[in-house]
């Protein structure tokens, strides 16, 4: 399962080359930072996209992560791995961005109350209520929309924990550091995220498997 991206896991050669680029940047060669940006942008983009769920926000997260990394580079000097470091900065900023987006969205949809009846609506219920017909289930676009809704229904911490663990193969300690919690809490956040996704998607995923078996899905 562990699919730690190469730039985060970092081979010794890349780490050494990163360390050299950091040193040269700190010595005043601003262009040396370009090497780091070009090397790690793709990895950071993938994380940012999975966390934010849209390309526009993901690109903003990538730019902001590198800007912040540059500004704080003096504090990084003693650390071991630039890839891991910028990855964490991006994850933290992505959480802030998601929170900001949620507030903007809430204000846009309903400027006075949180929801129609004044109670917080469980986004998971929306996923389950919108159960499509078997015909529609075979359409991958619909399934994709369901999955995106299920991911969007997770809390920021849950989505971060799931993305970092399941897709990026990060260690629990690393996730705990980004979530500013301890290992046990981080592990529980992964459990909660997977359990919620399963609850929301199992009927559709099951149907897809069935569709595959029956040869109805392209």
């Amino acid at each position: 399962m562990n699919r730690m991206p190469q730039s985060v896991e970092s081979t010794p050669a890349i780490a050494e080359s990163d360390a050299l680029a950091v040193e040269r940047t700190l010595a005043g060669e601003r262009d040396a930072f370009r090497v780091l940006v070009e090397r790690h942008s793709q990895t950071v983009f993938r994380l940012a996209y999975r966390m934010t769920g849209n390309r526009h926000d993901a690109e903003e997260v990538v730019q902001e992560a590198f800007l912040r990394a540059y500004q704080k580079l003096g504090q990084f000097a003693a650390r071991a791995n630039f890839g891991t470091w910028v990855y964490r900065i991006a994850a933290n900023y992505a959480i802030d961005r998601m929170r900001q987006r949620q507030k903007e969205e809430a204000r846009r949809q309903n400027p006075n109350t949180d929801s129609e009846d004044g109670m917080e609506q469980d986004p998971l219920s929306k996923v389950q209520d919108a159960a499509p017909t078997p015909e529609r289930l075979t359409q991958s676009l619909e399934l994709r929309a369901q999955m995106e809704r299920a991911l969007a229904a997770l809390s920021h911490a849950e989505r971060t924990a799931f993305v970092m663990r399941h897709w990026e193969g990060c260690g629990i300690e690393e996730i705990a550091e980004v979530l500013k919690s301890n290992s046990s809490a981080a592990k529980n956040t992964v459990f909660r995220a997977v359990a919620k996704l399963r609850k929301a998607l199992q009927p559709f995923a099951g149907a897809r498997t069935q569709a595959k078996v029956m040869g109805t899905e392209s």
Partner: protein, 264 residues
């Protein structure tokens, strides 16, 4: 047969189980749990099919082009970080104390014991710092106690706002670093150790989000309790108070006090 829980299956699927859990053995002999794991696999496999757009091979170059004009000429070096306004304020406050301590020490020595040695100056200097560090520890203790008792303003709220404590922790952190360095220079390893431990807790609080979930708050509380930092701060504060009360503590008293603190 006792079946695997959902948590155990998720932990197994996500590689978060210890090696000797016996889960693979159970799965090998239990059709029901294996079917459950397959259902979980189906959900996760479906999620894995979600595409991530390819930003293109030249994406790194484009990112660089977008951020390059916004980068300052040089990234901040460690010493430039010390020149931030907040740090300058803390440096100013501590420097003023050290200078005041130096002159008070000189004047009192000249008046009472014109020919006396530097030990008296050292004592007075230490006393001024003791007052300042004592007040700093008092403020830190108050902030930690408030944080430990923090609750949502409205019971319906799921998040607890700790922004006030967080900002205070940021201010205390700057002071703390300088007092710790001063304590080290003064050879007071015990005080420096306690300040070092306090610094780590302040750092955690300062870097926490402004709004935390009850679980996150509990984790912060747990960290505070696990390190026994409140107890240590109280013990050192009390000891500093006693040192403050003593009119002219002898060097031997000071040494024994430092030894006591080292035990703490």
């Amino acid at each position: 047969m006792k079946h695997l829980t959902e948590e155990e299956l998720i932990a197994f699927r996500e590689g978060m189980t210890a090696e000797k859990t016996g889960i693979p053995q159970h799965l090998a002999g239990c059709d029901e749990c294996r079917a459950e794991l397959e259902r979980l696999d189906a959900v996760l496999a479906a999620l894995d099919s979600l595409p991530v757009p390819d930003p293109g091979e030249d994406y790194g170059r484009r990112v660089w082009q977008q951020i390059a004009p916004r980068l300052p000429e040089n990234p901040a070096r460690w010493w430039q970080v010390w020149m931030l306004p907040r740090r300058l304020a803390a440096i100013g406050a501590v420097s003023a104390l050290v200078i005041a301590a130096f002159f008070v020490g000189r004047i009192s020595t000249m008046r009472s014991h014109p020919g006396d040695n530097a030990a008296n100056q050292q004592q007075v200097r230490e006393r001024v710092l003791v007052v300042a560090v004592g007040q700093h520890l008092g403020r830190s203790e108050m902030m930690l106690v408030e944080l430990s008792n923090a609750e949502p303003a409205d019971p319906k709220q799921k998040q607890v706002n700790i922004s006030a404590e967080q900002h205070r922790a940021e201010d205390l952190l700057e002071e703390n670093r300088l007092y710790r360095q001063t304590a080290l220079q003064e050879g007071d390893a015990g005080l420096a150790n306690v300040l070092d431990e306090l610094e780590r807790v302040l750092l955690d609080v300062a870097h926490s989000p402004e709004e935390v979930t009850p679980a996150q708050l509990e984790a912060i509380r747990h960290k505070i309790e696990a390190q026994g930092i409140l107890f240590k701060v109280r013990v050192v504060s009390k000891e500093l108070e006693q040192r403050q009360d003593a009119v002219k503590p002898s060097p031997t008293q000071n040494d024994s006090n430092k030894r006591e603190r080292n035990k703490v």
